[in-house]
């Protein structure tokens, strides 16, 4: 929990003298706190020099630079009528830029283009603000009012968010960051907003940009679409709640996963993907939806950041995976790569988000793990090798002819009366206990009506052998049974020893800590917990 400390400090610093009651803990922040900024700024020497010259803490300059521009020289990128463009590392604007430049004795033009001049002008401005406020400059938390003035932000919660950003950078160098958001004496700063209707850890920021899903089957929530917003978090959600944008998403995840906003109820149709569905872009999954507007049956999740990013912060992926676990659990959506897909995959004409560096396999594994399940694919490529492994003999041919397989393909083999080469799906159980085991296949008329799965524990005991009818029910999970497994690597073996004339399909096995709320039934799982003994 050490990572949570800086953010919590920020939240509660204003409350230390609160006479009545301590401030309530911020649930989301406590759960997913952003890590402090770890890399050094490229402008360290300029921050130090300007800080010394104008009696402003260098750490504060560094923190403001991080909050404003992530230490990049920006050139007039935030202009709209009535608001001057921001320039340089410190994002100086308009009159403030002119004033800082004059105080620092540098031309305004240099302040726009040269990082050293830009940082000096900002330091001179902060020096002036500190003088006017009469603060004790030796206490970092005393600078909070100055920081608020510098930010130019008027909304209190936005000011607090800004101060938290500065604090994150301060945490890198300062022993105890503490730029508290401004608060009335004795009052607590507002805790991070939570309590969104469909995902309690999220903040509810309602957007008018939605309409109703279709009442028929095309309106059933079926896919989760992953996006990047091509902007920062606040810019993303603040735009998507504006009716002018005519765009939205159900959720927006912040850069470091410290906050999620829900903008549209899941049951409503958010406006996040323009494409009409084309199943050839999604492993021929659910071709019945071809031509249907994709917003009808999807939940859209935006992520602060860019499709061109080289990587995504672990904490952002973790927060996003927890959200997707929740959505897929509530909506009974399988957690695989045709149900959790990128915007760019379904709309390749003009989108690539979330981009080539979204870690799709690890991400879906994380969603599965957070939902308490292990999925074992027939191919190592799609397995989390820490908990899942498959051994499928080469007598089982690979195929992707029939759609709705798990992972990249499936394996199949003809039944034979004397065959001994079963397909082995292994999963590691950390602590002994009850687990629900399900299997998935692709169906067809040539499949075996009595495909036999043997359940073998880590102790080497065959707990049961159950049979399923693989002629139907392809592409969804079917219950094999629930057993108590010892810790260690347990196995499910799909056998092909049976009278000739059919094929068995080894696609995937799912193991859940608890019995799933709904396992797609009706397709032929012929067993229950009262499993028949091995023949």
């Amino acid at each position: 929990m050490s990572k949570a400390a800086p953010a919590l400090l920020v939240l509660f610093a204003a409350c230390r003298p609160a006479p009545v009651a301590p401030c309530p803990a911020g649930q989301l922040v406590a759960q997913v706190a952003p890590p402090p900024v770890s890399r050094p700024s490229p402008f360290d020497s300029a921050f130090r020099a300007a800080g010394a010259e104008f009696h402003v803490p260098a750490e504060l300059l560094e923190g403001l630079g991080w909050a404003e521009t992530r230490w990049q020289m920006v050139q007039g990128t935030e202009e709209f009528p009535g608001r001057a463009p921001a320039f340089g590392v410190m994002a100086l604007r308009g009159a403030a830029l002119e004033r800082g430049a004059a105080l620092a004795g540098v031309p305004a033009e240099a302040t726009r283009r040269d990082p050293v001049a830009n940082i000096r002008a900002a330091a001179a401005l902060l020096d002036l603000y500190a003088r006017e406020a009469g603060i004790d400059r030796t206490r970092i938390e005393a600078w909070s009012a100055v920081v608020s003035r510098y930010s130019g932000i008027e909304l209190p919660d936005a000011r607090a968010a800004y101060a938290r950003q500065v604090d994150r950078a301060l945490a890198r160098t300062a022993a105890s960051p503490g730029l508290a958001p401004p608060a009335a004496p004795g009052a607590c700063p507002p805790p991070p907003a939570t309590g969104a209707p469909d995902y309690a850890p999220a903040a509810w920021r309602s957007s008018p940009n939605f309409d109703q899903r279709a009442a028929d089957s095309t309106g059933v929530i079926h896919l989760v679409i992953i996006h990047t917003c091509e902007s920062n978090y606040a810019s993303c959600w603040s735009w998507l709640v504006n009716p002018v944008s005519q765009a939205s998403a159900h959720y927006v995840v912040s850069e470091e996963g410290s906050e999620i906003s829900q903008l549209v109820l899941e049951r409503n149709r958010a406006w996040h993907i323009a494409a009409l569905y084309d199943c050839t872009l999604n492993r021929r999954h659910d071709c019945r939806l071809n031509g249907v507007q994709s917003n009808h049956f999807t939940v859209g999740i935006e992520h602060a950041g860019f499709a061109s990013q080289d990587s995504f912060p672990d904490a952002q992926l973790e927060a996003s995976a927890a959200l997707v676990c929740d959505v897929t659990r509530d909506r009974d959506i399988p957690r695989d790569w045709q149900h959790i897909v990128g915007h760019g995959q379904l709309q390749p004409a003009n989108r690539t988000d979330p981009g080539p560096h979204w870690p799709w396999i690890a991400y879906v594994h994380r969603v599965q793990a957070l939902c308490g399940e292990i999925v074992v694919d027939d191919s190592a490529q799609f397995n989390d090798t820490a908990v899942a492994g498959a051994a499928v003999p080469t007598t089982w041919a690979a195929s992707d002819t029939t759609p709705d397989f798990y992972g990249g393909a499936y394996r199949w083999a003809p039944t034979q009366p004397d065959a001994t080469d079963g397909a082995v799906f292994s999963f590691r159980v950390a602590t002994a206990g009850l687990r629900t085991v399900e299997a998935r296949w692709t169906s067809g008329s040539n499949r075996s009506p009595l495909a036999a799965y043997a359940v073998v524990t880590a102790a080497g005991d065959t707990a049961a052998t159950t049979t399923v009818d693989q002629r139907t029910g392809g592409g969804s999970w079917h219950l094999l049974g629930t057993w108590t497994f010892p810790a260690g690597w347990n196995r499910v073996v799909l056998r092909r020893r049976a009278p000739s004339g059919a094929v068995v399909v080894a696609d995937a096995v799912r193991v859940s800590a608890t019995r799933p709320a709904s396992s797609s039934g009706g397709a032929g799982a012929s067993t229950s917990a009262s499993n028949r003994p091995t023949p």
Binding site: R70, Q72, V74, Q75, G76, T77, E78, E79, F80, P81, R83, P85, N209, D211, H227, T228, C229, E230, S231, N232, A234, S235, W237, S238, W239, L240, V241, N242, V244, S245, Q246, A247, S248, W271, H272, I273, A274, A275, L276, Q293, S294, N295, E302, G305, F306, A307, S308, Q309, D310, H343, G344, P348, A349, N350, R351, T352, D353, G355
Partner: protein
Amino acid sequence: MLRRSVSLALAALGAACPGKEERSSAREAPRVQDSTFAGTTAPVQRLRSTRAGVPAAMLRSVTAAPGRGYDRVVFELAGDSAPGYRVEYAAGPVRSCGSGDVVSVAGSERLVIHLEPARAHDDQGNPSPRQRDLVPGLPAVREVKLVCDFEGQVEWVLGLPAKQPYRVTELAGSLLLDVKQGP
């Protein structure tokens, strides 16, 4: 994000350096009333890097005015920012990039200009420009409507009475889209 070839992106990077000198000469350009341009009805594009952290070009204003022999739509950008662009006649329906709803405009032809990385709103969620649907009623350009401002992409559609040749001129701080008036 627009898909692109590496070579195109590299070419764009090499060409994307409007400087102060260009800016002053560029400001003169609109005075040149060249009504004899041949133009094209084929797609025209210049793509730009969408590297992470590169700020999206900010749209400041969109205006439409008649020239001699053509109508001109000016996309003015904040500062010197220059997004990549692609201009083409729409073959099918033009859809709003969020809702996927088909967008209708005046006129029988739809000329689409796509800007990327670009945005038409600020970090506080305020639109820029606020005017997002112009009906200038010009001979060649009947309507200019914003259909996308989402995920770093901005798209406008021009409603035209006929499929006329057009040209794109890139200046420091603005893009000019000229559509020839009919005979």
